[in-house]
Symmetry: C2
Subunit: 134 residues, 2 copies
DNA sequence: TTTATTGCAAAACCTTTGCATGTAT
DNA sequence: ATACATGCAAAGGTTTTGCAATAAA
């Protein structure tokens, strides 16, 4: 069910590619998707949208605060719907590539303090763990 | 002062490119360098070593545990001499690109506990902060 | 001598961009 | 009508690879 509300609120025109991509985020059981992942979803949906457009839309969504982009390791960046503001970390399974999120206010507090002691104000931080399933 | 000891200890042949690159790490005032950075050092040194070789040597060094590779954001990976085992985080200046290291045992402890609770054993983790100089 | 290493150029990979065409408002 | 969005293909930046030539042991 395409919903253009969020798009308009974000000051973005309600175009077909943008609505479709937003839908994919909403309908996907996988929260974290790369541009390529989304492109494949579109193809599976018989939706002809160019990969370049996917990248452009994702960049606009990121700017508008609709999605968050995270560079996981060296490979592709993944995007996720921006529910809430908590800057969570990612735990990636070395076996399956599955991504889990986590958040620890104490860690965040400590990071901010460390940066402060080094003379910085934290603009952004990322925590990524790679682990084996026990 | 080229030193082939560490190379031989690592089971790597003491070739000219490998010794030279190891020297660059030792002599550089900058601890974190990209492959391109190292390549430029070599050129400045009138040393003709191909960029492909730099990448190959760095990969071998990483495997041998001589250096650590860290993907900083979307761009290039940086390499640093692997002194000690502490898996430190990186704080990068948004103004200068300067890289500071930090380590907090409490954060590490918490990350491990979080992973455990999610059913994982941490193989590796990276923390990267981007900050403004105060 | 034998096996590993290098250099070069080409390819791979993810992402961005130029430009003409198409579309939302 | 007008500004913005799209598609395609080409280019960008970083990293890897194939292969013949070269050097370490």
């Amino acid at each position: 069910m395409p919903d253009s509300t969020d798009l308009k609120t974000s000051g973005l025109k309600a175009t077909f590619p943008r609505m479709k991509i937003l839908d994919i985020f909403r309908d996907s059981p996988t929260r974290h998707m790369s541009a390529e992942d989304i492109y494949k979803h579109l193809l599976a949906d018989e939706t002809e949208i160019g990969l370049a457009t996917v990248y452009r839309v994702l960049a606009q969504f990121e700017q508008a605060g609709l999605v968050k982009r995270t560079q996981l390791g060296a490979g592709k960046a993944v995007y996720e719907l921006n529910d809430g503001q908590r800057n969570h970390g990612h735990l990636i399974s070395l076996q399956t590539g599955e991504v889990q999120e986590f958040y620890d206010p104490e860690i965040e507090k400590r990071l901010k303090r460390i940066a402060q002691q080094l003379g910085y104000h934290v603009a952004e931080y990322t925590i990524t763990m790679y682990g084996d399933k026990r």
